[in-house]
């Protein structure tokens, strides 16, 4: 470590003039920022070579506090924008910060199609099980029976299992951890950053202000203890029955495989076509002009 690191070990990467953050006391977003920097140091990546893309929501404000290139895009579309960034400069490490409302609700299609293409992005989805920014409405990942401002009698719907969904859509690295497991989460983000292909890390996070207050877990500590108690590692969970797993959070790696990556195959195609002469479409366009 160099001498200028007198403050917090992550402060060098943050825009000090914008701190303290807008997040509520005990919000999980801050822990995700820390674990991301920890993972970035472990993966030996340079922050100057990282582009962060985010949509709309509490978690999507994260790139605004980080000293790197960032895009704050329209609601639910960060993966679409990130695809463009990645294809414009495939050398860039593109990271998407997204919330559950952003990635699962309005941007659900972008998420599964990003996974299907297997483009080299790292998507960190901060799942706080509720729409925090707009006032605690039930989101597609709210657990069954949980309370929110739009579900005073408890949510009736079955929530999305985002990690399983993205894994089934074809992502090459999928993991789920909670903010109460910061070391395991750092390792998962590191693996995601190093993975060549679509990496999806779902972080189950606490929203003490809306989810906690409406579900009898008023403090961030109560929520984190609950998450730690409820979580079961995937290897153990595979041997358990569905009844035993009811209400539990399954954490761990959901997918770790390799498949051809999209930006690489596209570059190869462009290279090949350039060597063989202009593509047919361009040739015919020139012919018309002549």
């Amino acid at each position: 470590m160099n001498d200028k690191t007198k403050g917090n070990r992550f402060m060098d990467y943050l825009r000090r003039e914008r701190m303290p953050t807008i997040f509520c006391a005990g919000c999980g977003n801050g822990i995700v920022i820390n674990t991301f920097f920890n993972a970035m140091e472990m993966a030996e990546l340079n922050l100057d070579n990282i582009t962060m893309v985010s949509g709309i929501g509490c978690s999507s404000r994260i790139p605004g506090y980080i000293k790197c290139d960032s895009l704050h895009t329209t609601h639910g579309r960060p993966i679409a924008f990130a695809t463009g960034v990645k294809l414009a400069n495939p050398e860039m490490d593109v990271v998407v910060f997204s919330g559950d409302g952003d990635a699962a609700a309005i941007g659900g299609n972008h998420l599964i199609h990003g996974a299907r293409r297997n483009i080299n992005l790292t998507v960190i989805c901060i799942n706080n099980s509720i729409y925090g920014m707009t006032g605690g409405q039930i989101s597609p990942t709210s657990p069954k029976g949980s309370f929110g401002s739009t579900a005073p009698y408890g949510a009736l719907e079955t929530p999305f299992d985002l990690a399983e969904l993205v894994s089934a859509a074809g992502a090459t690295y999928v993991a789920r951890w909670t903010t109460a497991h910061p070391l395991q989460l750092s390792n998962a983000i590191k693996k995601g950053l190093q993975n060549k292909g679509f990496s999806f890390i779902e972080v189950v996070s606490q929203c003490p202000t809306y989810f906690g207050r409406k579900n009898k877990m008023r403090s961030p500590v109560d929520m984190m203890k609950w998450m730690k108690e409820q979580s079961i590692v995937k290897r153990k969970a595979d041997k358990m029955t569905e009844e035993e797993l009811e209400g539990k959070l399954i954490v761990g790696d959901f997918a770790d495989r390799s498949r051809p990556e999209f930006s690489e195959s596209l570059c190869e195609l462009v290279n090949q076509k350039c060597q063989e002469g202009s593509p047919e479409a361009i040739k015919s366009a020139y012919k018309i002009k002549l």
Binding site: M1, T5, K6, G7, N8, R9, F10, M11, L14, M19, P20, T21, F23, C24, A25, G26, C27, G28, N29, G30, I31, I33, N34, T35, N38, T179, A180, P182, L183, S186, S219, P220, V221, M224, K225
Partner: protein, 68 residues
Amino acid sequence: MIKMDEDLCKGCNICTEFCPRKVYEQSKELDKKGVHLPVPVNEEKCKKCNLCALMCPDQAITVEGNEE
């Protein structure tokens, strides 16, 4: 040595609860923002694992003396 940035801390209590060696305790008095700041009262117990710095959502904690 543990340093707390009082401007950044929002008093969420995560460090006092998740420190494996119970180094921190909540202060009795409220600070100017109206929150109970954590105080590293049992600092001699600290093994400098840096878990508090990793878990602090507001980047307020600095654990010094473990960087060689």
